[in-house]
């Protein structure tokens, strides 16, 4: 995933309503009315959020009968968490090595 795509994904995830929408979609596809129900915002406002999520590739929308249903696209989310895992690994391993070094320095000092 390019830096621009990552930014689009993170921009989309920066909003709590959009994160809640994604969480709801993990349970299954839903239309705008269903997605708007838990929030104190209008359906047009939810539609705007859906547009941002769609542009970031986090959801796709398909028409079924007269309603459009939103569908969660998991792959960009998975990719977006990869960098955090790498960063975590970098510092995890560095600080574990630092633990060992500090232990040795303490022993040298006391011995």
């Amino acid at each position: 995933m390019s830096g621009d795509q990552l930014s689009a994904v993170y921009g989309a995830l920066a909003d709590p309503t959009r994160r809640a929408i994604l969480t709801r979609l993990t349970e299954g596809d839903a239309n705008v009315a269903e997605l708007a129900a838990p929030f104190k915002v209008s359906q047009p406002a939810i539609s705007r959020h859906l547009k941002v999520l769609e542009q970031a590739g986090l959801i796709s929308r398909r028409r079924r009968a007269t309603a459009r249903f939103s569908h969660l696209e998991a792959e960009p989310l998975r990719e977006a968490t990869v960098w955090l895992a790498r960063y975590q690994e970098f510092w995890d391993e560095s600080y574990d090595r630092l633990d060992a070094l500090l232990a040795r320095l303490r022993n040298e000092h006391s011995g």
Partner: protein
């Protein structure tokens, strides 16, 4: 071992890392500014870090290279702002693979009952910089197994 906690809120240019150590803050500080010591722990286990220079004073420069598991060298450099001390270290950080993308790092050491909480704050120039840096700059030397204990024991034995 203690847990390394990383907070990177989506849509912000910040990263915060916290980690507790079983050591005084003076010792922890020394491990950060002594070139020999820094080279012994910085970077994932599959990498080797060589500190070219580290001038721990206000305006002093530092540079190190990290050799990844792929055999390539990655350079990093920056400047200290204010005199580094056990209270904290403020420095710029630039990955030479992405010149001009500078990050401001603040590391503080908080000692309590013989243990020290390290807090590392990084502020990037933009959200894209932060996400891009993490996506590219940290790729080397990963995909290693988690069998670090063996390695640590071997390291400590070889140092005796």
């Amino acid at each position: 071992m203690a847990t390394t906690r990383i907070i990177a809120e989506p849509g912000t240019p910040f990263v915060e890392i916290t980690r507790e150590f079983d050591a005084s803050r003076e010792l922890l500080f020394r491990a950060h500014i002594d070139p020999d010591l820094l080279g012994q722990w910085l970077g994932p286990r599959a990498t080797t870090t060589t500190v070219d220079h580290l001038d721990a004073r206000d305006g002093g420069k530092w540079r190190y290279t990290t050799r990844g598991a792929d055999g390539n060298d990655y350079g990093f450099h920056g400047v200290f702002h204010g005199t580094p001390s056990p209270d904290g270290i403020v420095q710029t950080f630039e990955f030479e693979g992405a010149p001009g993308h500078v990050c401001l790092q603040t590391v503080t050491f908080e000692e309590q009952g013989g243990r020290t909480m390290l807090r590392q704050n990084a502020v990037f120039q933009s959200v894209a910089d932060r996400d891009g840096m993490m996506a590219s700059g940290m790729e080397q030397g990963v995909n290693e197994g988690m069998e670090r204990l063996d390695e640590l024991v071997a390291r400590m034995a070889s140092l005796d």
